[in-house]
């Protein structure tokens, strides 16, 4: 599904290397968690994958189903099946949530050479999916994320994910700013999308999200590299002991 090979990334504006050789392989239907201390490069990885401006790839490649996506525009990556759930979803005054979603769904279908979804079919689908995320009609009518609470914003991200049906979902600290109930709701939304084929990369600081979204593989990132990979037990180890021990272990090796 996704293969990141020796990815080196620096900031465009200043001479600062953020990623220093990231290697990662996510298979079909797998859920990978990336954990790590602040500033380790987790969010940068998600931005670089989705094609945000401001970063320069100096080495390496990212293959999605064998295709190097680093050459593609963000919208082309989306149409190819990549989805990033933002840590801080953007507010867009003046654009209705529903209009936004329909435009996105149809733009992707068009890019893939599929027919656009009719207004009725779209409505039917979005109503059903919104309901399971406890997103009411009012929230669909409001401008994108404007005046949404933290929990509403994250649920709205998951709704977009559900509507766009990507192959690979990247969740960038989706748990930040959520209370226990909201985290449960969001996790249920994500789990509903696990169908054995769709893959996930879950970026988080904390083990608690991984209680709800159970990962197959856990990676620890530090200083622009993945320094350790293991099973779900690795997340527990971090939760109990913090990152310090792990980092020391790597330095010694």
């Amino acid at each position: 599904m996704l293969e990141i090979k020796n990815l080196h990334v620096k900031l465009e504006e200043e001479d600062k290397q953020i990623l220093k050789g990231v290697d990662l392989k996510v298979g079909e239907g797998e859920v990978h968690a990336i954990m790590g201390p602040n500033g380790s490069g987790k969010s940068t990885t998600s931005y670089v994958l989705s094609g945000r401006d401001g970063y320069e790839v100096t080495e390496g490649e990212v293959l999605l189903d064998g295709e190097n996506i680093l050459e593609l525009e963000p919208e082309e990556r989306a149409a190819a099946g990549l989805f990033l759930a933002f840590q801080y979803p953007v507010e867009i005054p003046g654009v209705g949530n529903m209009t936004f979603l329909r435009t996105a769904v149809n733009a992707q279908r068009k890019a893939r050479g599929e027919e656009e979804l009719s207004a009725t079919d779209f409505l039917k689908e979005i109503r059903a999916k919104a309901k399971s995320l406890k997103i009411d009609a009012e929230m669909l009518k409001r401008p994108v994320n404007v005046g949404f609470s933290g929990g509403e914003k994250k649920r709205n991200e998951i709704l977009q994910m559900a509507m766009l049906e990507p192959k690979l979902c990247i969740l960038d600290e989706t748990d930040s700013g959520l209370d226990v109930d909201a985290m449960k709701l969001v996790s249920e939304g994500v789990n509903a999308l696990r169908d054995g084929k769709r893959s996930f990369i879950v970026i988080t600081h904390y083990q608690r999200l991984l209680d709800h979204i159970k990962p197959d593989v856990v990676h620890i990132m530090s200083n622009g590299r993945i320094i350790k990979t293991g099973g779900p037990e690795l997340a527990l180890e971090v939760e109990n002991n913090g990152y310090a021990d792990l980092l020391a272990e790597v330095e010694q090796a």
Partner: protein, 432 residues
């Protein structure tokens, strides 16, 4: 050059300009009014680039003896408002076309051609023609409106005596590449009456238009205008309005294209508990110049006024906003709002704004804001990350930027039509 010398040159230029023009004939009272306007014009002079009020918009092509040529634009799609059930009044290059127009009558409605009204002895027209224009010359001179009062060759007078079901639609066709049109409309919405006036089309190569509107107590006036797409046209327009007690005045203007547009709106809120809203959405590409100059006076208690002006500018287009709210002493509990915003789609375009508040009452809430900026990069990336291509995402954000102005149109079908035109303009630009 000395001040007096400058003034003299201006007056000489004005004399030269009007020398070849003749005051239209009419009833004695009308001829006297026109002569008075001409005298006022000769005393103040037509504006020049040095005049403060014309600092950002060059008046010279409006002053010139003859208009510059403007190619006639032929649209592929049906004109704006085509789908709206309305009473059509057509002008071709500034001349009323009876054949193309509907019969000038309707329930609760009196309509007459201006030349007929100024040849007759109609009480309310006598008290209205040029009256607001004259009053609005202080504190700021508006000489093109005075020129209009003196020389207007056509137009309509409209009186609504009750709720008028169909909008009155003034359609300005442009056929002659060098036409020079001066139209003057006088509108009175009587107590408790309701009227919607639509305007569309470029009218002429050069167009000078005045609309004087009196909205009586408990009356409502809605105005929606779409200025023609003929890019080389030039227009200077004035709307003068008085608003009575518990009355409503709403005006919205869409401008797409046009090398020169100066739209002035001067409103006087005279009755308590009234509302006056003026809004505009302008889209310009290349040598587009668009100027909204607005002056709203609050002279009554508990009134609300809004000015919402948005301009989308690209490829060196230029937008101007000069807006003022004047709250007179005693106009307590005034709620005034003014926003002017320029969205620059590239680094070559310009938005110039002069928002002003002048307040003499001590218990008022007035806010104003003026911003200029580019498309929000974060919003753009967010849309693209969801699969929306850059051009489409930019259009979506552009329409979002205009939304606050479009929301000022009360009638949903008309608002939908306007939105559709704005989308069309953006799509065509994208197509190349």
């Amino acid at each position: 050059m000395k001040r007096a010398e400058l003034k003299q040159r201006k007056l000489d230029a004005t004399s030269a300009r009007v020398e070849g023009m003749t005051l239209p004939a009419g009833a004695a009272w009308a001829e006297a009014l026109r002569q008075d306007a001409l005298n006022r014009l000769l005393a103040m002079g037509l504006p020049q680039g040095r005049d403060e009020y014309w600092r950002w918009t060059r008046p010279d092509t409006l002053n010139a003896d003859a208009p510059k040529l403007a190619t006639v634009f032929v649209a592929k799609e049906a004109p704006v408002f085509s789908g709206i059930d309305r009473l059509k009044i057509v002008f071709v290059d500034g001349v009323f076309d009876a054949e193309a127009s509907d019969a000038l009558d309707g329930e609760n409605l009196e309509i007459m051609r201006l030349s007929d009204a100024l040849s007759a002895d109609i009480h309310w027209v006598k008290d209205a023609y040029g009256v607001q224009e004259k009053k609005a010359q202080t504190p700021v001179e508006r000489p093109f409106a005075t020129l209009n009062t003196a020389f207007a060759t056509d137009g309509v007078v409209i009186r609504a005596t009750g709720k008028v079901a169909k909008p009155v639609s003034l359609i300005y066709l442009h056929r002659n590449e060098t036409s020079d049109a001066i139209l003057h409309h006088v509108i009175r919405v009587e107590e408790g009456a309701e009227l919607t006036v639509l305007e569309n089309g470029p009218a002429a190569a050069r167009f000078n238009k005045v609309m004087e509107v009196e909205v009586a107590d408990k009356a409502a006036f809605h105005h929606v205008r779409a200025q023609g797409r003929d890019h080389e046209r030039r227009a200077v327009t004035h709307i003068f309005g008085t608003v009575g007690q518990e009355a409503l005045f709403k005006s919205f203007t869409m401008t797409a294209n046009g090398v020169l547009t100066r739209n002035e709106v001067v409103l006087d809120i005279q009755g308590d508990d009234s509302m006056a809203h003026v809004a505009g959405a302008a889209l310009g590409d290349g040598d587009f110049h668009h100027d909204d100059t607005v002056f709203i006076t609050h002279d009554a208690e508990r009134c609300e006024s809004r000015q919402v002006f948005k301009k989308v500018l690209r490829n060196g287009a230029k937008g101007v906003f000069q807006g003022k709210i004047l709250v007179k002493a005693g106009a307590q509990k005034t709620d005034g709002y003014q926003i002017s915003q320029g969205l620059l789609l590239d680094g070559d375009s310009q938005f110039l704004a002069k928002p002003e508040l002048e307040i003499y009452a001590d218990d008022v809430a007035c806010s104003h804001g003026s911003t200029v900026g580019a498309i929000d990069e974060d919003a753009l990336f967010y849309l693209r990350s969801r699969g929306v291509p850059t051009a489409e995402a930019t259009d979506l954000l552009t329409l979002a930027f205009l939304a606050e102005a479009i929301e000022e149109i009360e009638d949903e079908a008309i608002a939908e039509d306007i939105l559709h035109r704005l989308e069309g303009w953006l799509t065509r630009r994208r197509a190349g």
